[in-house]
Protein backbone atom coordinates (compact mmCIF):
# COMPACT_ATOMS: atom_id res chain seq x y z
CA UNK A 1 0.00 0.00 0.00
CA UNK A 2 1.25 3.44 -0.88
CA UNK A 3 -0.98 5.61 1.25
CA UNK A 4 0.00 9.15 2.11
CA UNK A 5 1.61 9.08 5.56
CA UNK A 6 -1.29 10.88 7.26
CA UNK A 7 -3.76 8.38 5.75
CA UNK A 8 -1.54 5.42 6.64
CA UNK A 9 -1.47 6.68 10.21
CA UNK A 10 -5.25 6.97 10.34
CA UNK A 11 -5.62 3.50 8.79
CA UNK A 12 -3.38 2.04 11.48
CA UNK A 13 -5.41 3.69 14.24
CA UNK A 14 -8.92 2.61 13.19
CA UNK A 15 -9.86 -0.55 15.07
CA UNK A 16 -11.17 -3.57 13.14
CA UNK A 17 -14.94 -3.86 12.91
CA UNK A 18 -15.64 -0.15 13.24
CA UNK A 19 -18.20 1.71 11.14
CA UNK A 20 -16.36 4.52 9.40
CA UNK A 21 -17.31 7.52 7.24
CA UNK A 22 -14.49 8.94 5.12
CA UNK A 23 -15.37 12.50 4.15
CA UNK A 24 -13.54 13.76 1.09
CA UNK A 25 -12.53 10.20 0.28
CA UNK A 26 -11.02 11.00 -3.14
CA UNK A 27 -10.70 7.85 -5.20
CA UNK A 28 -11.06 5.70 -2.12
CA UNK A 29 -7.39 4.91 -1.30
CA UNK A 30 -7.93 4.97 2.46
CA UNK A 31 -11.34 3.30 2.17
CA UNK A 32 -9.83 0.42 0.21
CA UNK A 33 -7.16 -0.18 2.84
CA UNK A 34 -9.65 0.06 5.70
CA UNK A 35 -11.98 -2.41 4.01
CA UNK A 36 -9.45 -4.89 2.65
CA UNK A 37 -6.76 -4.85 5.34
CA UNK A 38 -8.57 -3.70 8.46
CA UNK A 39 -12.01 -5.31 8.09
CA UNK A 40 -13.74 -1.98 8.54
CA UNK A 41 -17.27 -1.17 7.32
CA UNK A 42 -16.43 2.06 5.53
CA UNK A 43 -18.53 4.56 3.58
CA UNK A 44 -17.37 7.66 1.77
CA UNK A 45 -18.40 11.13 0.67
CA UNK A 46 -16.73 12.90 -2.23
CA UNK A 47 -17.56 16.05 -4.17
CA UNK A 48 -16.00 15.17 -7.54
CA UNK A 49 -18.28 12.85 -9.57
CA UNK A 50 -15.33 11.34 -11.46
CA UNK A 51 -13.72 10.28 -8.19
CA UNK A 52 -17.06 8.90 -6.94
CA UNK A 53 -17.28 6.91 -10.16
CA UNK A 54 -13.84 5.38 -9.53
CA UNK A 55 -14.83 4.48 -5.96
CA UNK A 56 -18.04 2.79 -7.11
CA UNK A 57 -16.14 0.82 -9.73
CA UNK A 58 -13.92 -0.50 -6.89
CA UNK A 59 -17.03 -1.70 -5.07
CA UNK A 60 -16.87 1.07 -2.45
CA UNK A 61 -20.01 2.79 -1.17
CA UNK A 62 -19.53 6.47 -1.80
CA UNK A 63 -22.10 9.25 -1.92
CA UNK A 64 -21.41 12.28 -4.06
CA UNK A 65 -21.90 15.22 -1.80
CA UNK A 66 -20.62 18.53 -0.58
CA UNK A 67 -19.34 18.23 2.98
CA UNK A 68 -20.26 21.88 3.59
CA UNK A 69 -23.93 21.07 3.00
CA UNK A 70 -24.66 17.35 2.96
CA UNK A 71 -23.16 16.20 6.27
CA UNK A 72 -26.32 17.61 7.85
CA UNK A 73 -28.24 14.71 6.25
CA UNK A 74 -26.45 12.07 8.34
CA UNK A 75 -28.02 10.95 11.62
CA UNK A 76 -26.35 11.57 15.00
CA UNK A 77 -23.69 9.03 16.02
CA UNK A 78 -24.24 7.11 12.77
CA UNK A 79 -20.57 6.10 12.69
CA UNK A 80 -17.95 5.00 15.18
CA UNK A 81 -15.34 7.04 13.35
CA UNK A 82 -15.62 10.02 11.01
CA UNK A 83 -12.55 10.91 8.97
CA UNK A 84 -11.88 14.31 7.42
CA UNK A 85 -8.57 14.24 5.58
CA UNK A 86 -7.16 17.37 3.96
CA UNK A 87 -10.63 18.86 3.68
CA UNK A 88 -11.06 21.11 6.72
CA UNK A 89 -9.12 23.94 5.08
CA UNK A 90 -11.49 23.81 2.08
CA UNK A 91 -14.65 24.24 4.17
CA UNK A 92 -16.82 27.34 4.03
CA UNK A 93 -16.96 27.20 7.83
CA UNK A 94 -14.42 24.74 9.26
CA UNK A 95 -15.86 25.23 12.76
CA UNK A 96 -19.32 24.08 11.61
CA UNK A 97 -17.80 21.16 9.75
CA UNK A 98 -15.99 20.09 12.89
CA UNK A 99 -19.30 20.17 14.77
CA UNK A 100 -20.91 17.96 12.10
CA UNK A 101 -17.97 15.57 12.21
CA UNK A 102 -18.27 15.07 15.95
CA UNK A 103 -22.04 14.79 15.72
CA UNK A 104 -21.94 12.02 13.09
CA UNK A 105 -18.95 10.13 14.50
CA UNK A 106 -18.27 9.14 18.11
CA UNK A 107 -14.64 9.87 17.35
CA UNK A 108 -13.14 11.82 14.50
CA UNK A 109 -9.83 11.96 12.68
CA UNK A 110 -8.89 15.28 11.13
CA UNK A 111 -5.79 15.79 9.00
CA UNK A 112 -4.71 19.11 7.53
CA UNK A 113 -1.65 20.88 6.13
CA UNK A 114 0.07 23.09 8.71
CA UNK A 115 0.51 26.57 7.32
CA UNK A 116 3.01 27.41 10.09
CA UNK A 117 5.52 24.81 8.81
CA UNK A 118 8.90 26.54 8.89
CA UNK A 119 9.39 26.41 5.11
CA UNK A 120 6.06 28.20 4.69
CA UNK A 121 7.04 30.83 7.21
CA UNK A 122 10.41 31.31 5.56
CA UNK A 123 8.92 31.49 2.08
CA UNK A 124 6.41 34.11 3.18
CA UNK A 125 9.10 36.03 5.07
CA UNK A 126 11.63 36.01 2.24
CA UNK A 127 9.37 36.32 -0.81
CA UNK A 128 6.41 38.12 0.69
CA UNK A 129 4.03 36.00 -1.38
CA UNK A 130 1.64 33.16 -0.55
CA UNK A 131 3.78 30.03 -0.69
CA UNK A 132 3.36 27.53 -3.49
CA UNK A 133 4.88 24.23 -2.38
CA UNK A 134 4.84 20.56 -3.17
CA UNK A 135 1.96 20.02 -0.76
CA UNK A 136 0.13 23.27 -1.53
CA UNK A 137 0.90 23.49 -5.24
CA UNK A 138 -1.83 25.89 -6.37
CA UNK A 139 -1.72 29.69 -6.52
CA UNK A 140 -3.71 31.64 -3.94
CA UNK A 141 -6.42 32.67 -6.39
CA UNK A 142 -7.30 29.21 -7.58
CA UNK A 143 -6.64 27.09 -4.51
CA UNK A 144 -9.48 25.17 -2.89
CA UNK A 145 -7.78 25.82 0.44
CA UNK A 146 -9.73 28.87 1.50
CA UNK A 147 -9.09 28.58 5.24
CA UNK A 148 -5.40 27.97 5.84
CA UNK A 149 -4.68 27.06 9.42
CA UNK A 150 -1.84 26.09 11.70
CA UNK A 151 -1.49 23.44 14.38
CA UNK A 152 -1.76 26.18 17.01
CA UNK A 153 -4.90 27.63 15.39
CA UNK A 154 -6.50 24.20 15.38
CA UNK A 155 -5.68 23.59 19.05
CA UNK A 156 -7.24 26.97 19.88
CA UNK A 157 -10.44 26.04 18.04
CA UNK A 158 -10.62 22.68 19.81
CA UNK A 159 -10.13 24.34 23.18
CA UNK A 160 -12.81 26.93 22.43
CA UNK A 161 -15.25 24.18 21.45
CA UNK A 162 -14.37 21.92 24.37
CA UNK A 163 -13.31 19.10 22.04
CA UNK A 164 -11.13 16.37 23.57
CA UNK A 165 -7.84 15.60 21.80
CA UNK A 166 -7.30 11.86 22.07
CA UNK A 167 -4.10 11.92 20.10
CA UNK A 168 -2.07 13.93 17.61
CA UNK A 169 0.56 12.92 15.05
CA UNK A 170 2.80 15.02 12.86
CA UNK A 171 4.53 14.55 9.53
CA UNK A 172 7.25 16.24 7.49
CA UNK A 173 8.98 15.13 4.28
CA UNK A 174 6.73 12.08 4.09
CA UNK A 175 7.76 10.76 7.53
CA UNK A 176 6.25 10.89 10.97
CA UNK A 177 8.04 13.27 13.34
CA UNK A 178 7.68 13.83 17.08
CA UNK A 179 5.40 16.44 18.56
CA UNK A 180 8.25 18.70 19.75
CA UNK A 181 7.63 22.18 18.32
CA UNK A 182 5.19 20.60 15.86
CA UNK A 183 3.81 23.97 14.81
CA UNK A 184 7.23 24.77 13.33
CA UNK A 185 8.31 21.33 12.18
CA UNK A 186 5.15 19.64 10.85
CA UNK A 187 3.96 19.85 7.25
CA UNK A 188 0.87 17.82 8.10
CA UNK A 189 -0.99 17.03 11.29
CA UNK A 190 -3.45 14.29 12.24
CA UNK A 191 -5.71 14.67 15.27
CA UNK A 192 -7.99 12.14 16.90
CA UNK A 193 -10.89 13.92 18.57
CA UNK A 194 -13.99 13.22 20.61
CA UNK A 195 -16.63 15.16 22.47
Amino acid sequence: MSLRPDLAKIASLVPTGMRVLDIGCGEGELMGVLRDERGVDVRGMELDPELVERCVSRGLSVVQGDADRDLADYPDAAYDVAILSQTLQTAQRPDYMLDQLLRIGRTAFVSFPNFAYWKMRLSLLVHGRMPVTRHLPVSWYETENIHHLTVADFRDLLAAKGVTVEGSWFFADGREIGSFRANWRAEHAVFRLSR
Binding site: V56, S61, Q64, D73
Partner: protein
Protein backbone atom coordinates in the same frame (compact mmCIF):
# COMPACT_ATOMS: atom_id res chain seq x y z
CA UNK B 1 -53.27 0.44 -32.13
CA UNK B 2 -51.91 -2.98 -31.36
CA UNK B 3 -54.36 -5.06 -29.39
CA UNK B 4 -54.25 -8.78 -30.11
CA UNK B 5 -50.56 -9.33 -30.77
CA UNK B 6 -49.88 -11.77 -33.58
CA UNK B 7 -46.48 -12.33 -32.03
CA UNK B 8 -44.64 -15.33 -30.73
CA UNK B 9 -43.75 -14.04 -27.26
CA UNK B 10 -42.20 -15.91 -24.35
CA UNK B 11 -44.94 -16.04 -21.78
CA UNK B 12 -45.58 -17.65 -18.45
CA UNK B 13 -48.85 -17.89 -16.52
CA UNK B 14 -48.53 -17.28 -12.79
CA UNK B 15 -49.49 -20.37 -10.81
CA UNK B 16 -51.33 -18.40 -8.14
CA UNK B 17 -53.83 -15.53 -8.23
CA UNK B 18 -52.12 -12.15 -7.81
CA UNK B 19 -53.37 -10.06 -4.87
CA UNK B 20 -53.42 -6.34 -5.65
CA UNK B 21 -52.95 -3.31 -3.38
CA UNK B 22 -56.53 -2.27 -4.22
CA UNK B 23 -57.79 -5.41 -2.49
CA UNK B 24 -58.78 -7.05 -5.76
CA UNK B 25 -57.21 -10.24 -7.07
CA UNK B 26 -56.09 -10.96 -10.64
CA UNK B 27 -56.47 -14.56 -11.77
CA UNK B 28 -54.40 -16.25 -14.45
CA UNK B 29 -51.87 -13.44 -14.80
CA UNK B 30 -49.61 -13.83 -17.82
CA UNK B 31 -46.16 -12.30 -17.96
CA UNK B 32 -44.25 -11.90 -21.21
CA UNK B 33 -40.50 -11.85 -20.66
CA UNK B 34 -37.17 -12.13 -22.40
CA UNK B 35 -33.92 -13.52 -21.03
CA UNK B 36 -30.36 -12.87 -22.12
CA UNK B 37 -27.27 -14.88 -21.22
CA UNK B 38 -27.13 -18.15 -19.29
CA UNK B 39 -28.28 -18.90 -15.78
CA UNK B 40 -25.36 -20.23 -13.72
CA UNK B 41 -25.62 -23.66 -12.08
CA UNK B 42 -25.89 -22.01 -8.64
CA UNK B 43 -28.47 -19.57 -10.05
CA UNK B 44 -26.51 -16.72 -8.51
CA UNK B 45 -25.93 -14.60 -11.61
CA UNK B 46 -29.47 -13.39 -12.33
CA UNK B 47 -30.15 -9.71 -12.89
CA UNK B 48 -33.71 -8.42 -13.16
CA UNK B 49 -34.15 -5.29 -15.25
CA UNK B 50 -37.33 -3.27 -14.84
CA UNK B 51 -38.34 -1.26 -17.89
CA UNK B 52 -39.68 2.30 -17.92
CA UNK B 53 -43.24 3.52 -18.63
CA UNK B 54 -43.19 2.89 -22.36
CA UNK B 55 -40.45 0.28 -22.42
CA UNK B 56 -40.85 -3.47 -22.57
CA UNK B 57 -38.98 -6.74 -22.27
CA UNK B 58 -36.97 -6.16 -25.45
CA UNK B 59 -33.96 -4.65 -23.65
CA UNK B 60 -31.28 -5.99 -25.91
CA UNK B 61 -33.13 -7.64 -28.73
CA UNK B 62 -34.78 -6.28 -31.86
CA UNK B 63 -38.32 -5.14 -31.12
CA UNK B 64 -40.80 -7.44 -32.89
CA UNK B 65 -43.28 -4.62 -33.60
CA UNK B 66 -41.06 -1.67 -34.50
CA UNK B 67 -38.06 -3.61 -35.80
CA UNK B 68 -35.85 -1.22 -33.83
CA UNK B 69 -32.93 -2.30 -31.64
CA UNK B 70 -33.61 -3.08 -27.96
CA UNK B 71 -34.04 -0.02 -25.75
CA UNK B 72 -30.82 -0.58 -23.77
CA UNK B 73 -28.60 -2.35 -26.28
CA UNK B 74 -25.83 0.07 -25.47
CA UNK B 75 -25.83 -1.15 -21.84
CA UNK B 76 -26.82 -4.82 -21.97
CA UNK B 77 -24.95 -7.37 -24.04
CA UNK B 78 -21.73 -9.37 -24.36
CA UNK B 79 -18.87 -7.43 -22.79
CA UNK B 80 -21.12 -4.45 -22.01
CA UNK B 81 -21.61 -2.94 -18.53
CA UNK B 82 -24.43 -5.40 -17.84
CA UNK B 83 -22.57 -8.32 -19.32
CA UNK B 84 -24.65 -11.13 -20.80
CA UNK B 85 -21.50 -13.27 -21.02
CA UNK B 86 -21.43 -13.43 -17.23
CA UNK B 87 -24.95 -12.62 -16.09
CA UNK B 88 -28.41 -13.97 -16.79
CA UNK B 89 -30.68 -11.04 -17.53
CA UNK B 90 -34.44 -11.20 -17.14
CA UNK B 91 -36.78 -8.44 -18.26
CA UNK B 92 -40.53 -8.86 -18.15
CA UNK B 93 -43.28 -6.66 -19.49
CA UNK B 94 -45.04 -5.15 -16.46
CA UNK B 95 -48.62 -6.08 -15.68
CA UNK B 96 -50.85 -3.38 -17.11
CA UNK B 97 -48.51 -3.23 -20.11
CA UNK B 98 -49.22 -4.10 -23.70
CA UNK B 99 -46.35 -6.30 -24.89
CA UNK B 100 -47.85 -9.60 -23.90
CA UNK B 101 -48.33 -9.33 -20.14
CA UNK B 102 -51.80 -9.14 -18.64
CA UNK B 103 -53.18 -5.63 -19.07
CA UNK B 104 -56.30 -3.76 -20.05
CA UNK B 105 -56.20 -5.18 -23.60
CA UNK B 106 -56.10 -8.77 -22.31
CA UNK B 107 -59.28 -10.82 -22.13
CA UNK B 108 -61.16 -10.36 -18.88
CA UNK B 109 -63.13 -13.07 -17.07
CA UNK B 110 -65.89 -12.93 -19.71
CA UNK B 111 -63.45 -13.33 -22.58
CA UNK B 112 -63.88 -9.74 -23.72
CA UNK B 113 -60.98 -7.26 -23.35
CA UNK B 114 -60.79 -5.82 -19.84
CA UNK B 115 -60.75 -2.21 -21.02
CA UNK B 116 -61.49 0.08 -18.11
CA UNK B 117 -62.79 -2.87 -16.09
CA UNK B 118 -59.14 -3.78 -15.51
CA UNK B 119 -58.32 -3.13 -11.84
CA UNK B 120 -56.16 -0.11 -11.01
CA UNK B 121 -52.70 -1.44 -10.23
CA UNK B 122 -49.73 -0.03 -8.34
CA UNK B 123 -45.96 -0.12 -8.74
CA UNK B 124 -45.86 -2.64 -5.89
CA UNK B 125 -48.39 -4.84 -7.75
CA UNK B 126 -46.11 -4.78 -10.82
CA UNK B 127 -43.19 -5.89 -8.65
CA UNK B 128 -45.27 -8.54 -6.86
CA UNK B 129 -46.08 -10.11 -10.22
CA UNK B 130 -42.42 -10.21 -11.23
CA UNK B 131 -41.35 -11.68 -7.88
CA UNK B 132 -43.89 -14.45 -8.55
CA UNK B 133 -42.31 -14.87 -11.99
CA UNK B 134 -38.86 -15.25 -10.38
CA UNK B 135 -40.29 -17.82 -7.96
CA UNK B 136 -41.64 -19.87 -10.85
CA UNK B 137 -38.35 -19.59 -12.74
CA UNK B 138 -36.60 -20.92 -9.61
CA UNK B 139 -34.54 -17.77 -9.06
CA UNK B 140 -34.05 -16.85 -5.41
CA UNK B 141 -31.66 -14.03 -4.60
CA UNK B 142 -30.90 -11.79 -7.54
CA UNK B 143 -27.34 -10.65 -8.17
CA UNK B 144 -28.87 -7.27 -8.91
CA UNK B 145 -32.07 -5.48 -9.75
CA UNK B 146 -31.73 -2.57 -12.15
CA UNK B 147 -34.15 0.09 -13.34
CA UNK B 148 -34.29 3.58 -14.77
CA UNK B 149 -37.17 6.04 -14.47
CA UNK B 150 -40.30 4.00 -13.61
CA UNK B 151 -38.03 0.94 -13.62
CA UNK B 152 -36.09 2.61 -10.81
CA UNK B 153 -39.30 2.99 -8.82
CA UNK B 154 -39.92 -0.75 -9.23
CA UNK B 155 -36.34 -1.46 -8.15
CA UNK B 156 -36.76 0.65 -4.99
CA UNK B 157 -40.13 -0.98 -4.33
CA UNK B 158 -38.58 -4.45 -4.63
CA UNK B 159 -35.76 -3.45 -2.26
CA UNK B 160 -38.20 -2.07 0.31
CA UNK B 161 -40.93 -4.70 0.11
CA UNK B 162 -38.92 -7.85 -0.68
CA UNK B 163 -35.75 -7.14 1.30
CA UNK B 164 -32.93 -9.56 0.58
CA UNK B 165 -34.39 -10.61 -2.77
CA UNK B 166 -31.64 -8.66 -4.55
CA UNK B 167 -28.02 -8.26 -3.41
CA UNK B 168 -27.61 -5.03 -5.36
CA UNK B 169 -30.14 -2.36 -6.25
CA UNK B 170 -29.36 0.12 -9.02
CA UNK B 171 -31.90 2.95 -9.36
CA UNK B 172 -31.28 5.44 -12.15
CA UNK B 173 -33.01 8.78 -12.84
CA UNK B 174 -35.86 7.97 -10.54
CA UNK B 175 -37.76 8.97 -7.42
CA UNK B 176 -39.35 7.48 -4.31
CA UNK B 177 -42.59 9.34 -4.96
CA UNK B 178 -44.33 11.14 -7.79
CA UNK B 179 -44.34 14.91 -7.30
CA UNK B 180 -47.27 17.21 -8.04
CA UNK B 181 -45.50 18.20 -11.26
CA UNK B 182 -45.08 14.55 -12.30
CA UNK B 183 -48.77 13.88 -11.63
CA UNK B 184 -49.75 17.04 -13.48
CA UNK B 185 -47.95 16.05 -16.68
CA UNK B 186 -49.45 12.57 -16.54
CA UNK B 187 -52.91 14.02 -16.08
CA UNK B 188 -52.47 16.07 -19.26
CA UNK B 189 -51.69 12.85 -21.10
CA UNK B 190 -54.62 10.96 -19.65
CA UNK B 191 -57.04 13.76 -20.41
CA UNK B 192 -55.77 13.91 -24.00
CA UNK B 193 -56.54 10.20 -24.40
CA UNK B 194 -59.93 10.37 -22.72
CA UNK B 195 -60.93 13.47 -24.68
CA UNK B 196 -60.45 11.58 -27.95
CA UNK B 197 -63.91 10.34 -29.09
CA UNK B 198 -62.25 7.16 -30.37
CA UNK B 199 -61.30 6.26 -26.80
CA UNK B 200 -64.98 5.33 -26.31
CA UNK B 201 -64.70 4.88 -22.56
CA UNK B 202 -61.80 2.50 -23.10
CA UNK B 203 -63.94 0.07 -25.08
CA UNK B 204 -62.28 0.45 -28.47
CA UNK B 205 -60.69 -2.96 -28.99
CA UNK B 206 -63.31 -4.73 -31.10
CA UNK B 207 -64.17 -4.26 -34.73
CA UNK B 208 -62.50 -1.76 -37.02
CA UNK B 209 -62.04 0.98 -34.41
CA UNK B 210 -58.50 2.31 -34.40
CA UNK B 211 -58.68 3.56 -30.84
CA UNK B 212 -57.71 7.00 -29.54
CA UNK B 213 -54.62 7.44 -31.72
CA UNK B 214 -54.82 11.23 -31.66
CA UNK B 215 -55.20 11.37 -27.90
CA UNK B 216 -52.42 8.90 -27.25
CA UNK B 217 -50.21 10.75 -29.69
CA UNK B 218 -50.73 14.05 -27.86
CA UNK B 219 -50.08 12.33 -24.53
CA UNK B 220 -46.79 11.02 -25.89
CA UNK B 221 -45.83 14.43 -27.27
CA UNK B 222 -46.39 16.13 -23.92
CA UNK B 223 -44.54 13.42 -22.03
CA UNK B 224 -41.67 13.39 -24.50
CA UNK B 225 -40.92 17.03 -23.75
CA UNK B 226 -40.44 16.12 -20.09
CA UNK B 227 -37.85 13.50 -21.04
CA UNK B 228 -35.61 16.07 -22.74
CA UNK B 229 -33.86 19.23 -21.61
CA UNK B 230 -34.32 22.77 -22.82
CA UNK B 231 -30.66 22.90 -23.83
CA UNK B 232 -30.99 19.54 -25.59
CA UNK B 233 -34.01 20.70 -27.59
CA UNK B 234 -32.27 23.95 -28.48
CA UNK B 235 -29.18 22.12 -29.65
CA UNK B 236 -31.13 19.54 -31.66
CA UNK B 237 -33.75 21.82 -33.22
CA UNK B 238 -33.34 25.44 -32.20
CA UNK B 239 -35.90 27.46 -34.15
CA UNK B 240 -35.01 25.73 -37.40
CA UNK B 241 -37.81 25.23 -39.91
CA UNK B 242 -38.88 21.84 -41.27
CA UNK B 243 -38.26 21.39 -45.03
CA UNK B 244 -39.17 24.98 -45.85
CA UNK B 245 -37.55 28.34 -46.34
CA UNK B 246 -40.07 30.47 -44.50
CA UNK B 247 -42.91 30.24 -42.02
CA UNK B 248 -46.15 29.12 -43.65
CA UNK B 249 -48.47 31.44 -41.74
CA UNK B 250 -50.50 28.34 -41.01
CA UNK B 251 -50.57 25.49 -38.55
CA UNK B 252 -48.50 22.88 -40.30
CA UNK B 253 -45.40 21.68 -38.52
CA UNK B 254 -43.28 24.68 -39.52
CA UNK B 255 -40.64 24.03 -36.91
CA UNK B 256 -38.43 20.98 -36.79
CA UNK B 257 -39.31 20.45 -33.14
CA UNK B 258 -43.01 20.26 -34.05
CA UNK B 259 -42.36 17.74 -36.78
CA UNK B 260 -40.19 15.68 -34.42
CA UNK B 261 -42.83 15.62 -31.70
CA UNK B 262 -45.59 14.72 -34.14
CA UNK B 263 -43.50 11.84 -35.41
CA UNK B 264 -42.80 10.68 -31.84
CA UNK B 265 -46.52 10.81 -31.07
CA UNK B 266 -47.72 8.97 -34.16
CA UNK B 267 -45.07 6.25 -34.10
CA UNK B 268 -45.86 5.59 -30.43
CA UNK B 269 -49.45 4.67 -31.27
CA UNK B 270 -48.21 1.79 -33.43
CA UNK B 271 -46.72 0.01 -30.45
CA UNK B 272 -48.63 1.16 -27.38
CA UNK B 273 -52.12 0.70 -26.05
CA UNK B 274 -53.86 3.84 -24.79
CA UNK B 275 -55.54 2.10 -21.87
CA UNK B 276 -52.15 0.70 -20.78
CA UNK B 277 -50.89 4.28 -20.81
CA UNK B 278 -53.74 5.30 -18.50
CA UNK B 279 -53.18 2.44 -16.07
CA UNK B 280 -49.40 2.68 -15.92
CA UNK B 281 -49.30 6.46 -15.45
CA UNK B 282 -51.89 6.05 -12.69
CA UNK B 283 -49.70 3.49 -10.95
CA UNK B 284 -46.73 5.86 -11.15
CA UNK B 285 -48.79 8.74 -9.76
CA UNK B 286 -49.89 6.58 -6.83
CA UNK B 287 -46.28 5.68 -6.07
CA UNK B 288 -45.06 7.03 -2.74
CA UNK B 289 -42.69 4.62 -1.04
CA UNK B 290 -42.73 6.61 2.22
CA UNK B 291 -46.53 6.65 2.38
CA UNK B 292 -46.56 2.85 2.02
CA UNK B 293 -44.39 2.66 5.15
CA UNK B 294 -46.04 5.06 7.57
CA UNK B 295 -44.84 8.30 6.02
CA UNK B 296 -41.11 8.05 6.67
CA UNK B 297 -38.98 6.99 3.72
CA UNK B 298 -36.20 5.58 5.93
CA UNK B 299 -38.74 3.15 7.42
CA UNK B 300 -39.31 1.72 3.94
CA UNK B 301 -35.70 0.58 3.94
CA UNK B 302 -35.33 -0.54 7.54
CA UNK B 303 -35.00 -4.23 6.67
CA UNK B 304 -32.62 -3.97 3.70
CA UNK B 305 -29.66 -5.24 5.74
CA UNK B 306 -26.46 -5.25 3.72
CA UNK B 307 -28.12 -4.92 0.31
CA UNK B 308 -25.92 -2.55 -1.66
CA UNK B 309 -27.55 0.42 -3.35
CA UNK B 310 -26.41 2.69 -6.14
CA UNK B 311 -28.48 5.74 -6.99
CA UNK B 312 -27.71 7.81 -10.09
CA UNK B 313 -29.22 11.11 -11.21
CA UNK B 314 -28.54 13.46 -14.12
CA UNK B 315 -27.95 17.17 -13.77
CA UNK B 316 -30.30 18.07 -16.66
CA UNK B 317 -33.16 15.78 -15.56
CA UNK B 318 -36.01 18.04 -14.45
CA UNK B 319 -38.57 15.22 -14.42
CA UNK B 320 -36.88 13.38 -11.53
CA UNK B 321 -34.29 15.92 -10.42
CA UNK B 322 -31.26 15.13 -8.28
CA UNK B 323 -33.07 16.23 -5.11
CA UNK B 324 -35.38 13.21 -5.50
CA UNK B 325 -32.41 10.85 -5.66
CA UNK B 326 -30.82 12.58 -2.68
CA UNK B 327 -33.99 11.96 -0.66
CA UNK B 328 -33.57 8.23 -1.36
CA UNK B 329 -29.88 8.38 -0.41
CA UNK B 330 -30.72 10.29 2.76
CA UNK B 331 -33.23 7.61 3.77
CA UNK B 332 -30.74 4.83 3.03
CA UNK B 333 -28.09 6.61 5.07
CA UNK B 334 -30.52 6.88 7.95
CA UNK B 335 -30.74 3.07 8.09
CA UNK B 336 -26.97 2.72 7.49
CA UNK B 337 -27.47 0.88 4.20
CA UNK B 338 -24.39 0.71 1.96
CA UNK B 339 -25.30 3.28 -0.65
CA UNK B 340 -23.44 5.00 -3.44
CA UNK B 341 -24.78 8.05 -5.19
CA UNK B 342 -23.56 10.13 -8.09
CA UNK B 343 -25.09 12.95 -10.10
CA UNK B 344 -23.79 12.62 -13.63
CA UNK B 345 -23.50 15.43 -16.10
CA UNK B 346 -25.24 14.76 -19.41
CA UNK B 347 -27.05 17.11 -21.77
CA UNK B 348 -30.08 14.96 -22.61
CA UNK B 349 -32.36 15.50 -19.61
CA UNK B 350 -34.26 12.55 -18.16
CA UNK B 351 -33.55 10.40 -21.22
CA UNK B 352 -29.81 10.56 -20.47
CA UNK B 353 -30.01 7.11 -18.91
CA UNK B 354 -30.88 5.65 -22.32
CA UNK B 355 -28.36 7.64 -24.33
CA UNK B 356 -24.63 7.97 -24.80
CA UNK B 357 -23.20 8.73 -21.36
CA UNK B 358 -19.83 7.00 -20.85
CA UNK B 359 -19.75 7.90 -17.14
CA UNK B 360 -23.04 6.03 -16.66
CA UNK B 361 -21.56 2.98 -18.37
CA UNK B 362 -18.58 3.05 -16.00
CA UNK B 363 -20.67 3.42 -12.86
CA UNK B 364 -23.10 0.67 -13.91
CA UNK B 365 -20.25 -1.67 -14.82
CA UNK B 366 -18.45 -0.93 -11.56
CA UNK B 367 -21.52 -1.39 -9.41
CA UNK B 368 -23.03 -4.44 -11.06
CA UNK B 369 -19.61 -6.09 -11.26
Amino acid sequence: MATALPLDLNRLTLAHPLPLDSGKVLEGVELAYETYGTLAADRGNAILIFHALTGDQFVARQHPVTGKPGWWERMVGPGLPIDTDRHFIICANIIGGCMGSTGPASPGPDGQPWGMRFPVITVRDMVRAQVALLDQLGIGTLHAVVGGSMGGMLALSLAANWPGRASRVLAIATTARHSAQNIAFHEVGRQAIMADPDWAGGDYYGGSGKGPEKGLSVARMAAHITYLSEAGLTEKFGRRLQDREAKSFGFDADFQVESYLRYQGISFTNRFDANSYLYITRAMDYFDLAEEHGGRLADAFQHVGDTRFCVISFDTDWLYPTAESRAVVHALNAVAAPVSFVELSAPFGHDSFLLDCPALDRVVKGFVG
